[in-house]
């Protein structure tokens, strides 16, 4: 079983985002970074599948040299190979990213064999484009289902579960296949001390990606207008219940 998991280095959630003076980029000087949460779960899913079925997991990212940190993290929880498509730090659009990742996957597969399953996060935590996984699957001519909260593998078939508005759908994909994993599919493990030490020794294959920019131009970044809500405190504890009822009455929702 050969599994590839693609991750993205993103600003840590909750960080206060500042924008550069020209309004065209995020000022990363004082930002903390992490792996997108959906992808952290995808890494865990890859490791669990390898534990259950044998084989190896590979982690791949396209990003600045510092994204090595996210690759080492994946290595510290059990991924054995790491690939960095090193950019100059600029944010690549989804079209360009997918083209570069496809080229890298094709090169790796030509050398080492096909990945039975390629996992992406459902969407990145920063730009949330929902694009790269589908684009890569299409380029590779493999089936993909997104929004996955359950994976099992048997006899060359990946069975995937996707929650929907109405309930749940179950899909069967003949491998090689691609899946977009959603947070909540599992609880990612913490790296052990042994894992951390081992991760320092994992060789990171560095590929220089080449792909031309897609059809979009960044015009500007700006903070949204501040919400100017003034909160009226109805009171403390259970005594405030009556005030809520009066209010609901006033708003006309009790009819």
């Amino acid at each position: 079983m050969r599994i590839l998991v693609c991750v993205k280095r993103v600003p840590a959630p909750g960080s206060r985002i500042s924008i550069t003076a020209d309004g065209l980029a995020v000022d990363t000087a004082f930002l903390g970074f992490t792996t997108s949460p959906h992808e952290e779960c995808a890494v865990e899913a890859a490791v669990q599948l390898v534990e259950a079925h044998g084989g190896s997991a590979t982690v791949l990212t396209l990003g600045p040299a510092e994204a090595e940190e996210q690759l080492r993290y994946a290595a510290s929880v059990g991924v054995s190979n790491a690939v960095l498509l090193a950019t100059d730090g600029a944010d690549w659009d989804p079209q360009r990213t997918a083209a570069a990742i496809t080229a890298a996957i094709t090169a790796i597969e030509d050398r080492d064999g096909v990945f039975d399953l390629i996992l992406f996060g459902n969407e990145s935590a920063d730009s949330g484009g929902f694009q790269v996984g589908v684009r890569v699957a299409r380029h590779l001519d493999r089936p993909i289902v997104n929004g996955i909260k359950g994976i099992s593998i048997a006899d060359g078939i990946a069975t995937l579960e996707r929650p929907t508005d109405a309930g749940q759908e179950v899909y069967e994909l003949t491998m090689p296949a691609v899946a977009g994993v959603k947070e909540g599919i599992n609880l990612p493990r913490y790296p052990t001390l042994k894992g951390r030490l081992a991760s320092k020794k994992v060789q990171i294959a560095i590929i220089e990606p080449s792909a031309k920019p897609g059809g979009q131009v960044l015009v500007r970044l700006e903070p949204p207008a501040e919400l100017t809500t003034s909160t009226t405190m109805l009171g403390n504890g259970p005594d405030a219940a009556a005030a809520v009822v009066d209010l609901l009455e006033e708003l006309g929702v009790l009819r």
């Binding site: 959630p13 380029h139 089936p143 109405a166 179950v170 979009q216 970044l221």
Partner: protein
């Protein structure tokens, strides 16, 4: 280039166009040019309603006969475009089917697709979209480059659905060609959850619970309160991920976007991911024991207190009416 033809990816539920579809058709009409709808499935039952909302033509693929919607839709649209019937701008809803179809289409057309938007503007030749990123704490404006069709997805409730000039709603058949291995995933089972009461994204009142409830059993207070208020019960991502309630209850960035008259947040601290999904509510009432909780920064009315004490009292007061 001038934008003269705009298509909207239309969806229906229970035989009527979804609110999201009407929102996009309203916006499309306001941008000028000819508006048409593309419907994945047999459009016959909804064509009149889509016409009334401004669609001159309604492209219909006919029954999907078990094919996966996304790959089939992308293939049908690609075939229309290859045949010379092409939009300048194509608006998709930011939901599973819209996203899936547009992503597959865009890669076949080798076009960019700008996703997750909340607004669009056309100024002469420039088509720009606005997108909140990092869970809404930065807005990005992006302009399309290169040649049409320009493809974009929009979050639910980005625009208000309004009535306007009706159009013919003429049904045009869009054939689904053979589309290869990317559509080879098969659905083997569909589980439907029983649901009753108003729908989360359409209810006048929404009552949501979060981690502050403490355990799964306490969610029954949310359901009781929701029933009394004829409201839809909702949830934060934390308790959905914890398995207390199904995903369909989730309000937020990766769940539903709601804009009810009244939103009651009980035991929800107010992570950005949640607030993105409910901050457009008209009146927000927050109940939380931590008076510093971020939810109070956007609530109109707040109660500082333990939900285990406040909710029973509130339920009691409502039952006493």
């Amino acid at each position: 280039m001038t934008i003269s033809t705009i298509w909207v990816f239309a969806q229906a539920q229970d035989g009527v166009p979804t609110t999201g579809t009407l929102e996009l058709l309203t916006k499309a009409r306001s941008l000028g040019g000819a508006v048409s709808a593309f419907f994945l499935g047999d459009a016959a039952p909804v064509a009149a309603a889509l016409g009334a909302a401004g669609a001159a033509k309604v492209y219909s693929t006919g029954d999907l006969a078990g094919q996966l919607p996304g790959p089939a839709g992308a293939a049908a649209i690609k075939a229309l475009i290859d045949g010379g019937d092409a939009p300048d701008l194509f608006l998709f809803p930011q939901n599973y089917e819209g996203r899936d179809t547009v992503a597959r289409l865009s890669v076949q057309l080798d076009r960019t697709v700008l996703t997750n938007n909340t607004d669009i503007a056309i100024d002469g030749d420039a088509v720009t979209v606005t997108t909140p990123i990092f869970g809404g704490n930065t807005l990005v404006t992006t302009r399309f480059a290169g040649s049409a069709p320009y493809l974009a997805t929009f979050r639910p409730k980005s625009f208000a659905a309004e009535e306007g000039a009706a159009a013919a709603g003429e049904i045009v058949t869009a054939a689904i060609p053979e589309h290869g291995a990317t559509g080879a995933a098969r659905i083997t089972a569909v589980h439907v959850e029983e649901s009753s009461g108003p729908k989360l994204d359409e209810a006048r009142v929404v009552v949501s619970g979060g981690r502050g409830l403490g355990d799964a059993g306490a969610y029954s207070m949310i359901e009781t309160l929701a029933k009394l208020l004829k409201a839809a019960p909702g949830a934060s991502r934390a308790i959905v991920d914890a398995g207390w309630v199904p995903y369909s209850y989730q309000v937020g960035q990766t769940g539903k976007v709601v804009k009810p008259e009244v939103y009651i947040a009980a035991g929800i601290s107010g992570a950005t991911q949640h607030m993105v999904g409910m901050k457009g509510s008209k009146h927000i009432i927050a109940i939380n024991k931590d008076k510093e909780a971020p939810i109070f920064s956007i609530a109109d009315l707040g109660i500082v207190g333990d939900v285990h004490k406040v909710l029973p009292k509130l339920i009691e007061a409502l039952q006493a009416r």
